[in-house]
């Protein structure tokens, strides 16, 4: 179970800025620890952003996305009270889903 996904939606007129912080090590499989042991590859592979239960963004990521990545997206016509949820699945099969109500 991963750490909480932080979601922020800010309505500016017709447009909404959506910021999503996924807390994840995003290990490339190329780094070594203090003892010279290679750290296993471990990264978010897919994520989905939904608006009131309907998918609006589907993402696929590689190890080359930074650790604890912050994403920003834009959408049109989102209203106060709408629900935005984000879920991800990583290379180890771990999953996390969080939801906010737009205020």
């Amino acid at each position: 179970m991963g750490e909480q996904i932080k979601i922020r939606a800010q309505i500016k007129g017709d447009m909404t800025d959506i910021r999503i912080l996924m807390q994840h090590p995003m290990e490339t499989g190329q780094r070594k620890d203090d003892k010279g042991q290679t750290l296993a590859m471990h990264f978010i592979q897919t994520f989905t952003v939904s608006h009131n239960g309907k998918t609006m963004i589907e993402g696929q990521l590689n190890t080359s996305v930074s650790k604890n990545p912050l994403f920003a997206f834009k959408a049109r016509g989102i209203k106060v009270g709408d629900k935005i949820s984000v879920s991800w699945q990583d290379s180890a099969g771990d999953k996390r889903q969080d939801e906010i109500v737009v205020s």
Partner: protein, 158 residues
Amino acid sequence: MFELRRKLLKGGSVAALLSPLLGTGLLVPTSVLAADWNRPAFGTRNIGDALKAYGNANTASESPDIVISAPEIAENGAKVEIEITSNIENTRSLAIFADKNPMPLSAILEFSGPALPYARVQLKLAETTRVRAVVKTLDGKTHVAFREIKVTLGGCGG
């Protein structure tokens, strides 16, 4: 009842028996709804192969309607923020490649409904590289834009 259950389990074909229901929408596993990870494209180790594996992105036409903003010089390659806007009508997806990364394809984003073809992402860049944004449209056309980013300290290894 138990007899039937035993038979089903014995046959080891529960999945096979249920599979005709999948198409009806009665039983839709959520894992099927989520986008599958494009292993062939993400696993390629040079930009030429990555573009081909992603679906003939090597023949994309360069477009001024894709705007990439990124720092000219990134001091730390571990976190480089890149902002991409597609002003191309009917943009369906956006893929981001870093030519000189060990695995050039970094991300694929698909937009639908209220989402606009815009994204700000944070990438690791191994060294000074050209970053390219490949846009696919609903009618199957492919467009590309480039941006050179100088990296002072690489962000992939130790």
